[in-house]
């Protein structure tokens, strides 16, 4: 009979190293690069924040500048920002994919905080957190062995065999993505306890967000929902349960079939009702088995 450490070790190996497909890993590279490129193309001249009045930078310590290497002048930053567009495009297309992913990840680490740096060095929920980590993970792995114009393998070879080397990087990015939901639920209970689930609390959030962000709030969907306490309570419970359950997609195909569409609907509802937008919604596609869906030859086992 196996001892507990053996069981744990086998479970660890089964989760991280069960042979995976080069295509699924490459699809993750493309999704991460495309999502990041979409956000970057939607932030016009981000380095120009450097030229904002000095007062706005007064609370940014030298250590925080050092943390994100915000030490160059505006001209250099604009060149680097242009370079980020190029590296994201080459990561997406699979031109020197690992080098492109590494440069993209490092440049995203540098530029993502520009959106919030005057107030905080924590630019989460701005759409670049998972792409930053994910593209770095792609650079550590053989993410260019498939779906690449100029990848790491000669193009005339048959598709690469399933390998543990294609499995762990995708699993790691999926785990990082699931943490969004898990810690979002945990943070609600950590900060507010059971009171967060009360109808009055959810109604209050609906009113606050729509009063602050809708023009005019009176005609918003959030206001319409706020008039129905039972619905407010139901949505609070449903949202929290979805967040807690979402990590099941890591281990269950049935959970993926159920929870991925629900998560998509959840983000649409958040956008319409609460006026906040989740830029990483396309990354739900990280959980799709592209090896089955994409045309072409299957990989050898």
């Amino acid at each position: 009979m196996a001892s507990d450490p053996d069981v744990g070790s086998a479970a660890w190996a089964a989760f991280w190293y069960r042979p995976g497909s080069a295509r699924n890993l490459a699809a993750a590279r493309i999704l991460l690069a495309a999502t990041a490129l979409w956000v970057v193309l939607s932030r016009a001249d981000l380095p120009s924040v450097l030229a904002f009045p000095d007062e706005l930078w007064s609370q940014v310590s030298p250590e925080r500048r050092l943390r994100f290497l915000i030490v160059f002048d505006l001209g250099v930053e604009r060149i680097l920002y242009a370079a980020l567009h190029v590296t994201l495009l080459t990561a997406l297309l699979g031109v020197l994919p690992r080098a492109s992913c590494l440069l993209s990840g490092l440049l995203l680490y540098h530029f993502a905080p520009f959106e919030t740096i005057i107030r905080t060095g924590n630019p989460y929920l701005r759409g670049l957190t998972i792409p930053t980590l994910g593209l770095l993970v792609m650079s550590f792995s053989r993410s260019g062995d498939a779906l690449a114009l100029f990848g790491g393998r000669p193009r005339d070879l048959r598709p690469p065999a399933l390998s543990w080397e294609y499995a762990w990087p995708l699993r790691l990015v999926q785990v990082l993505f699931c943490q969004i939901y898990l810690f979002a639920a945990y943070s609600k209970l950590f900060a507010s306890g059971g009171a967060w689930l009360e109808a009055a609390n959810l109604r209050g959030h609906l009113l606050v967000l729509n009063q602050a962000l809708s023009e005019p709030p009176e005609t918003s969907w959030g206001y319409a929902l706020a008039r129905h306490p039972a619905l407010c309570a139901g949505i609070a419970w449903a949202g929290l349960l979805l967040e807690l359950a979402f990590p099941l997609v890591l281990v269950s195909r049935a959970a993926r079939v159920l929870l991925l569409p629900l998560a998509f609907a959840f983000h649409v509802a958040n956008s319409v009702l609460f006026r906040f937008f989740f830029q990483n919604t396309p990354l739900l596609l990280l959980f799709v088995d592209w090896q089955r869906l994409l045309p072409g030859r299957r990989e050898a086992t």
Binding site: L56, R64, A195, R275, F276, F277
Partner: protein, 222 residues
């Protein structure tokens, strides 16, 4: 525990350096894992990376203390406040008439970042600093007015993708929808207010808000 950690504000610079160290260690372990493929040694290097990421993200998530890009993912986690405030900027024409400015003119900075910064700092600012800030706002408001009058997009973030551009996390209120909402002549001054209200009271009576003037710059030459 989280509150206790937040109270150590004076340690923030040192903690920022530690956060940089946490990120650099992640990159270093990743590069080590990538160094050579195959064999049990390669698996051990990957194991080290995986364990590091899992431990670090668990610490960040459970303690609710960021070490970006390892995030705590708190999202609307507090209880809803009874009173809130918002920023309103008005551009002034030569006659002194005020026009509400669409805060998308601040892009690539999001309105909520600017407003949050202002809440935290405006009362400690010297008059000369407030004037510099007001001139910056006036410049941005006037550039936005000109774009709107020319029929261009107010939101500079939409320069390439138009309405398909990725929004900020919090949707911006689209204040300007028509050129008629701004004067034909340039803004010559600017006012900034905090608008404050009781959430439930405003739900019943939309007009019940109070304005608190932060600063005013009246006339470019003044």
């Amino acid at each position: 525990m989280s509150d206790a950690l937040r109270s150590l504000k004076w340690m923030e610079p040192a903690i920022d350096v530690c956060r940089l160290g946490a990120f650099l260690l992640f990159v270093a372990l990743g590069l080590l894992a990538a160094w050579r493929a195959g064999g049990p040694e390669a698996r051990r290097r990957v194991d080290a990376l995986l364990v590091y990421v899992l431990v670090l993200t668990a610490l960040v998530g459970l303690a609710q203390q960021e070490s970006w890009p390892f995030a705590q993912w708190a999202l609307v986690s507090g209880l809803s406040p009874r009173r809130i405030r918002s920023l309103e900027v008005q551009g002034l024409d030569a006659t002194g008439r005020g026009y509400v400015v669409d805060l998308r003119v601040l892009q690539p900075l999001s309105p909520e970042e600017f407003a949050s910064w202002l809440y935290a700092n405006v009362w400690a600012m010297r008059p000369s600093a407030r004037e510099r800030l007001a001139r910056f706002l006036l410049c941005r408001a006037e550039q936005g007015r000109q774009r709107l009058r020319r029929g261009e997009r107010v939101a500079r973030n939409q320069w390439l993708l138009g309405p398909l551009a990725a929004p900020y996390h919090f949707h911006d209120a689209r204040t300007w929808r028509s050129p008629a909402q701004v004067p034909a002549t340039p803004f010559t001054g600017v006012r900034a207010f905090f608008i404050e209200w009781d959430v439930e009271e405003r739900f019943r009576h939309p007009e019940r808000i109070t304005r608190r003037l932060l600063f005013e710059l009246d006339g470019i030459g003044s």
